[in-house]
Amino acid sequence: MIDLLIPTIISCVAALAVVYIMTPPLIKFLEKQNFTVKDMNKKEDVMVVRPGGPAIIAGIIISEIILYAFLQLNEILAMLITTSAAFVIGYVDDRKVMGGWFKPVALAVAAIPIIALGTYDSYLVFPLFGAVQIPVLYLALIIFMIPITGNTINSIDVLNGVASGFMVIASFSLSLCLFIVQNYEIAVVSLPLGVVSLAFYKFHKVPSKIFPGDSGALALGAMYGGIAIVGDVEIIAAVALLPAVINSFLFISSVKRVVEHRQIKGKPVEHTVDFKLQATDDKKAPVTLVRLILAGGGPMSEKQVGFAIFKLAIFSGFLAVITALMMGVSL
């Protein structure tokens, strides 16, 4: 394990430095190109640049290439190709409005490198009850997992700082769980995801200077899903991601189909006079995690809702750690 220390430090420093250094010039470049969108939760007409995906993917690629130079793992290659493909899919969606089915289908294709490079184990491991081998079913799981994690992170990217902040908590929880289940190499491979998210959070937090866009959110989500598969910690990863999974589940089960947010007619959230967020009673509007939080807690500022989501993420991370500890226990 000691021999992993140097690659860990170098890759994490590289991930942090690349995103931290690259994002400010990217913001200036996007401003010049007029790639801006209105921040809907600000009283004034605030325009924010997007997408921040190029800085995020640069941090991921450079840190993972450094790790590959040290560890020579096919798992890194598979995850890197899938994550890069997810970035490209997101970038296409950032530039051109695509249909609701484009991202799930394209992300399913992006999962193929994980299968092609054979970097998976067809056992699904559950806490307390052990493992079950599902050779064919596992292939379907891989094909579904990347679109689910990618779109799940994308769908939680609704407020300043939420997607990146949530990924910081979820990915570091997953890394900790990988150390607990003694999968040290994949734990090290997973660390740059948290570091990249942390570096990007500095620019994404309230008030946002840049939004990750679909390219950033899909890259983060796809990498998270890729780590879950190659690290053989699918169930633990699902637990750490629960608030975002619940958000996606609430959304899809209330609109009853796969659609883009822009296609939704009802408004789930509205602004009060002092521009706080509050839940609407619009029956046509989708049910979302933000709406649920606001319905239970009354009007809140954007920052307060973000912190409420982070608290849920920390709780889910804690449950993920308990789940990882339970992996060693058999009934």
Partner: protein
Amino acid sequence: MWCLIIIGGGIIVTLLGPISVSGFGEFDWFVSSMIQAVIALVLVVIWILILSKIKNWVFKKEIKL
């Protein structure tokens, strides 16, 4: 939802783990996988239905959205 994942995992391991079909020659693994897939799909549908019921209960009874 965490409890549903843990319990669901137990059911999956208990139901899918022992499935092993013989009598189909080299297609044994394929038939086994198909049976596993059908059972898994049924379990996922049941899991989603339970989650939907819980969601409806939370929204309609507790928060009245």
